[in-house]
Amino acid sequence: MPKTLFEKIWDSHLVNKQDERSLLYIDRHLIHEVTSPQAFDGLRTNERKVRRPDLTIATMDHNVPTTNRSLPIVDEMSATQMQVLEKNCKDFGIQLFDLHSPNQGIVHVIGPELGLTLPGSTIVCGDSHTSTHGAFGALAFGIGTSDVEHVLATQCLWMDKLKTFEIRVEGKRKNPHTITAKDIILYIIRKIGTGGGVGSVIEYRGETITELTIEQRMTICNMSIEGGARAGLVAPDEKTFQYLQGRRFVPNNYDQCVDDWRENLKSDPGASFDKTITIKAEEIAPQVSWGTNPAMTTDVTDIVPFPSDYARGNPDEEKAAERSLEYMALKSGTPITGITLDRVFIGSCTNSRLEDLIEASRVVKGKKVSSKVRALVVPGSQLVKRQAEKLGLDVIFKDANFEWRESGCSMCLGMNPDILAPGERCASTSNRNFEGRQGFGGRTHLMSPVMAAAAAIAGHIVDVREVDLN
């Protein structure tokens, strides 16, 4: 019987099956300072060891400062959380890329960068954006701290078998520099809703997806969780194999692995998905979120919607839109391009990779950030930062009055000092526009790196298609 890519990975990792749940073997466990401390407490209480410290890798990203790292950390609680991770890694024999490591970075940026993310493998991490790694054809999903403890102790996880959801993106984008992977995924979430993928793993397929670079596929898979899906997948291809070639942690028999991946890691012709939708790439314009969840998104050429138009007869949706507009302090009918900004954030596990920074720098080059805006670039990892600096991107951003920071999650989730003040409005390349996500009372507009860069220069949201891309 023809199988989907998901079913192939699932079946090859099945340890045991009981009732409707399956015990799944986990090939790689990534941990960070925020969702692991209680799990290690649990191990100690029960006198358990880490079953496979060699398959477990740690970094610090969520609450690390992005300013000068030779200075002491001001926030004592963050400093403690980092010290606790250091101690846990030392006590349990886990490799840690700490604050001062040349490999430190956002866990979903460094995993692929180090070749820890392999096609056909299972990857978990105590972070919902673990779906990012699906861009390599890995089954990767976020887990909570109890499950982190369970994986540390057993290297396995009980799972309900996920449903399969095929999203085909067909055709060609009008301009891949202005209609980016971020616009594709925001458009998809807008279509399927925040709960559209609940209980599913999405496999992204079709001409447009095939044409994307690996980093762009990561942006797509990253936000699968915002559509409610547990994981996103793209079948690996030559681009994937080339991307991973020679990276630090790939297996010694890499060529042999590639032969196997090339042969097996794709959905068979005729394999059936529980659900399928098709998106036409030529219909996608630059996307901007106006509300307080990622599905509350529209074209940049559009207006802030009237709740009744948005809700299409659903009173709950109408109420939600009203509340969102109130929180966002937006008036229906206002053109999206008229929205003025206080802050711009280019970063996060969604959009902080080298290609994101290269694209954004093209918009910024030779221009200045609006005097009304404070703008921030936070590279996803130390490696991304070094590569960008080699290309001179730091100079382009700094000349334009962007702040050029050290790597981390930063303003995506408001855990470190990079936060919005109440009422501040931010164009952000991150993944969540929830109330208070970037700081209490902060207002987030999600968009692509080129859109955010253009908005920083103009001081308000603009259509990047009308901007000179150097």
Binding site: Q18, V34, N46, S128, G144, S146, N293, K319, L413, R432
Partner: protein
């Protein structure tokens, strides 16, 4: 289980409003609990003194995988969240960590239950008795293995 309800007439209550990111630095459960629902309801702590159930709409707990969200609710005294649907990671965290019961209800029950209603929940019979309104609703039964993990008191106490 018998207690009264805190109702949020809203879908997509995300983990960032249940426990805002800045409190993920906290380690102590009691400290985490002090900030439960801070992003959505400043009066949560006065309400939770008299109520052990939350009722809400679709996709409760969407967003981050932070188990701190379930810890914050549970440590505040919440014993069950009744929602039309749950984000899966939240659901798993609730069950695996034995923090609270994630109970799926239908639209009709969601619409009919009001803030401060007194409910009696029977998870053996999958019935919810609204003592205030004298109505009975059914809850979606827990899948078999989930039920076993709940009965065992969490994933680590469960012996297959």
């Amino acid at each position: 289980m018998k207690s009264s309800v805190i109702k949020y007439d809203k879908d997509n209550i995300d983990t960032d409003v249940i426990l805002p990111g800045q409190y993920l630095k906290l380690h102590d459960y009691a400290e985490i609990a002090k900030h439960a629902m801070e992003g959505i309801d400043k009066n949560f702590h006065s309400k939770v003194k008299n109520a052990e159930f939350i009722v809400a709409g679709k996709n409760f707990g969407c967003g981050s995988s932070r188990e701190h969200a379930t810890i914050a609710l549970s440590q505040s005294g919440i014993k069950a969240v009744l929602a039309v649907s749950f984000a899966r990671i939240f659901y798993r965290n609730a069950v695996d960590g034995a923090f609270l019961l994630p109970i799926e209800i239908d639209e009709n029950a969601y619409k009919n239950i009001s803030d401060k209603d007194e409910l009696e929940i029977n998870t053996e019979k999958n019935k919810i008795n609204n003592l205030t309104k004298e109505q009975v609703y059914s809850m979606k039964p827990f899948p078999e293995l989930i039920k076993k993990i709940i009965d065992a008191g969490g994933l680590f106490n469960y012996k297959p």
